[in-house]
């Protein structure tokens, strides 16, 4: 019995280590080159280890080039505003779809599901027209409304969680005379926190790494976000990959920190704390 358990555990670790190896294999080239000076990068093999892992000149150069701090600030604003509305709208829609029966319920759900099927790249001309007529072109409002617009993942995720929140809780509250708004606010919303944390992570990262939306809808230099600032290290047929590598690692940091901060909330689960 104990033996099979050890074997099972060893197998788990072996697969995990293989997974980690595969995951870390491609970034090797980014990591080693971020520490190489121009000359070292140009003359040596791209695969070679750097002369020193303490050569932070590229990281410094990335910062001195400017725009990055501003890019961080702009990105942060966009992410925060988007998230607040995403969480609010996501929980609201999930509450309605998960708790009530009404005629248009299936239709609304289908509307969300179908939205993911429409290939966004081909509708951009029309989308651009809307953004422009709303007066949002070249403002932060453009990416924000587009990110808030439609995302079925959050609806499904919330629905999944809401199903596991016992309906008794609602009913007890109703017996005590609580309004539906109050039930949403003080029972449903707080009990959805694990889903909310997951959403915060996944959504912030996808916004953080999205280049196309800010690139098309707010090209103004002052409105640069992290990705569009990163773009300034390369051009049509010109790229300083040692500098870009450093920039890639640098912009990885904030997301790592966010992940560390939030991971215990994601993985804490409904069962372990919140219900009581």
């Amino acid at each position: 019995m104990i033996q099979t358990k050890t074997i099972a555990n060893t197998l788990k670790y072996i697969t995990l280590l293989v997974g980690v190896f595969v995951v870390l294999f491609p970034p090797y080239v980014v990591i080693v080159n971020s520490f190489k000076a121009d000359e070292e990068f140009n003359t040596g093999s791209t695969m070679a280890l750097p002369e020193s892992f303490f050569n932070f000149d590229n990281f410094k150069a990335v910062f001195e080039r400017g725009g990055l701090i501003n890019g961080f600030a702009n990105t942060l604003i966009i992410i925060c505003v988007t998230l607040v509305f995403n969480i609010l709208f996501g929980t609201m829609v999930a509450y309605v779809l998960g708790r009530f029966d009404f005629r248009m319920k299936k239709a609304v759900f289908a509307l969300y599901l179908f939205a993911t099927v429409i290939p966004g790249i081909t509708t951009q001309v029309a989308t651009f027209g809307i953004i422009k007529s709303l007066g949002l072109y070249n403002t932060m409002g453009a990416p924000i409304v587009l990110y808030i617009g439609a995302d079925v993942i959050q609806i499904i995720l919330y629905l999944q969680f809401i199903r596991n929140i016992p309906v008794d809780l609602d009913e007890n509250a109703m017996v005590e005379g609580a309004s539906l708004l109050r039930i949403y606010r003080s029972i449903i919303f707080p009990l959805l926190t694990p889903a909310t944390s997951t959403l915060i992570i996944l959504k912030s990262i996808s916004i953080y790494n999205d280049m196309y939306t800010p690139y098309l809808y707010m090209p103004k230099q002052a409105l640069g976000v992290v990705t569009t600032v990163l773009m300034r290290f390369q051009s049509l047929n010109l790229a300083n990959w040692n500098l870009i590598s450093a920039a890639i690692l640098l912009i990885l940091l904030p997301t790592l920190i966010l992940y560390f901060f939030l991971q215990k909330y994601i993985f804490e689960g409904v069962a372990s704390g919140a219900v009581k």
């Binding site: 080039r65 725009g67 790229a239 909330y265």
Partner: protein, 441 residues
């Protein structure tokens, strides 16, 4: 419970920052709106109190959608400083576009949201007057090269950013080490040189085949050079079989295929790496490029000694006579509805005459008679090469090509990879003929 309160605190912070951000965003919008207004009022005001020189002082804000994202916050800052010495009241706003520049611009065009200054997108010349301002009144317009490329009904709408000649850019040391003492003058000599390089462990020609665009010289320049007819690409209009083995296309692609088959290109042409190839040309692991002269500065940029890089025309046959293509790069255009037309034109004029962009980017000047600072070009011209200028594309040919979805470098790729290249030509000839018929030409 404690964890819950931490999370609550986090949500609060989030909410607060969102509110603050909202304000920040609004105030940001506010300022843009303000500048928008001031733009309107300031439009090209001729200042009565212009300083001594008698020059009018222009003001306003000019947005420039550039594809040189790498220059934003770097060289452009310095450009701006110099430009503002001359025109202190013109503000320049740089916007960045990249590989899909053309797509980005068209999306903006569809909504009438063009920047003031930009590069001409892929549209037929007949559409130019609908979007762009006439540029015939530019001070240097009589000295401009390639004036007819982006003109319509005799009016000028686009100005070349710089011109380049296509030829073989090579590492002199790699040639010397392989025992090549003279640059090849015939195709036979060229093949012999490739063989020597290969024997010496050097990749003779870096094609960057996979990336497709580096095949441009083979697809756009060489066919018309071989035919000795600048108008050759446009003469497709008169035939249902534009691609034959014995015309410019067939001959040009066959030369490329010969190099590939003999192993004179990268070991695996489907796995090439553009940035890496520049390093390899610089350090002599690869010997040659067949590209425009603009690449010389880039190779020097990754560490090659300037005098180790040479440039000679590709000897595509055994006649000993050589021609090389001369082609423009992107074209500047000015939004005809620009609120600051005069200021935009002033900036454009400055870019052409004073910025030094062509030297930085390794081009020849858009203006006639200006010497290039590139020593390799002087060397090249000393070889008495006949420079054959390209001609503007025929709009009907463009229309048929678009309908048939003809992409010449892609056809070159297919041709080289095919066991029987004739089948590739047959396929595209068929597509061409069908599109031509459907359009009624």
């Amino acid at each position: 419970m404690r964890k819950k309160s931490i999370l609550l605190a986090f949500m609060m912070i989030l909410a607060i920052s969102a509110v603050l951000a909202g304000c920040g965003g609004n105030s940001g919008n506010g300022t843009t709106a303000d500048t928008g207004n001031s733009e309107g009022t300031n439009t090209a005001t001729a200042n009565s109190g212009s300083e001594g020189s008698g020059e009018t002082t222009l003001s306003g804000k000019v947005t420039f959608l550039t594809n040189r994202t790498d220059m934003i916050g770097k060289e452009y800052d310095e450009y701006l400083k110099r430009f503002n010495e001359k025109y202190p009241d013109i503000k320049i706003e740089f916007e960045g576009g990249q590989t899909d520049y053309n797509q980005q611009l068209k999306v903006r065009m569809a909504s009438g949201e063009l920047p003031d200054l930009m590069f001409v997108p892929d549209i037929p010349n007949s559409d130019l007057p609908k979007y762009f301002a006439e540029l015939d009144d530019m001070p240097f317009s009589s000295e401009l090269t390639f004036k007819d490329f982006k003109s319509y009904e005799g009016k000028l709408y686009g100005i070349t950013t710089g011109n380049a000649s296509s030829g073989i850019v090579y590492n002199k040391q790699a040639f010397a080490d392989a025992g090549i003492t003279e640059t090849p003058k015939t195709w036979e000599e060229f093949l012999a040189a490739c063989e020597k390089l290969k024997q010496n462990g050097v990749i003779p020609l870096s094609s960057n085949f996979k990336d497709k665009w580096p095949l441009g010289s083979w697809a756009y320049d060489l066919p018309r050079l071989i035919e000795n007819n600048p108008n050759f690409p446009n003469e497709k209009l008169n035939t249902d079989t534009p691609f034959t083995m014995d015309n410019g296309y067939g001959k040009s692609f066959s030369l490329l295929k010969e190099l590939a088959d003999k192993g004179y290109l990268e070991k695996d042409i489907n796995s090439t790496n553009w940035e890496q190839s520049k390093k390899d040309i610089a350090n002599g692991k690869m010997a040659m490029y067949y590209l425009g002269n603009w690449v010389i500065n880039q190779v020097i940029g990754v560490g090659a000694e300037a005098d180790n890089i040479g440039f000679f025309p590709l000897p595509y046959d055994n006649s000993g006579q050589t021609r090389a293509g001369l082609s423009p790069d992107f074209f500047y255009a000015v939004n005809k509805d620009s609120k600051n037309l005069e200021a935009t034109k002033a900036f454009l004029a400055w870019l052409i005459e004073d910025s030094g962009y062509e030297d930085f980017a390794g081009f020849m000047s858009p203006l006639e008679g200006r010497e290039s600072k590139l020593p390799q070009l002087a060397e090249f011209q000393a070889l008495a090469v006949e420079l054959q200028e390209g001609v503007a594309d025929d709009p009907e040919v463009i229309q048929i090509s678009n309908k048939a979805q003809i992409d010449l470098p892609a056809i070159a790729q297919e041709f080289v990879l095919a066991k029987d290249p004739q089948t590739v030509f047959d396929k595209w000839n068929k597509a061409w003929a069908k599109a031509k018929k459907d359009l009624g030409y």
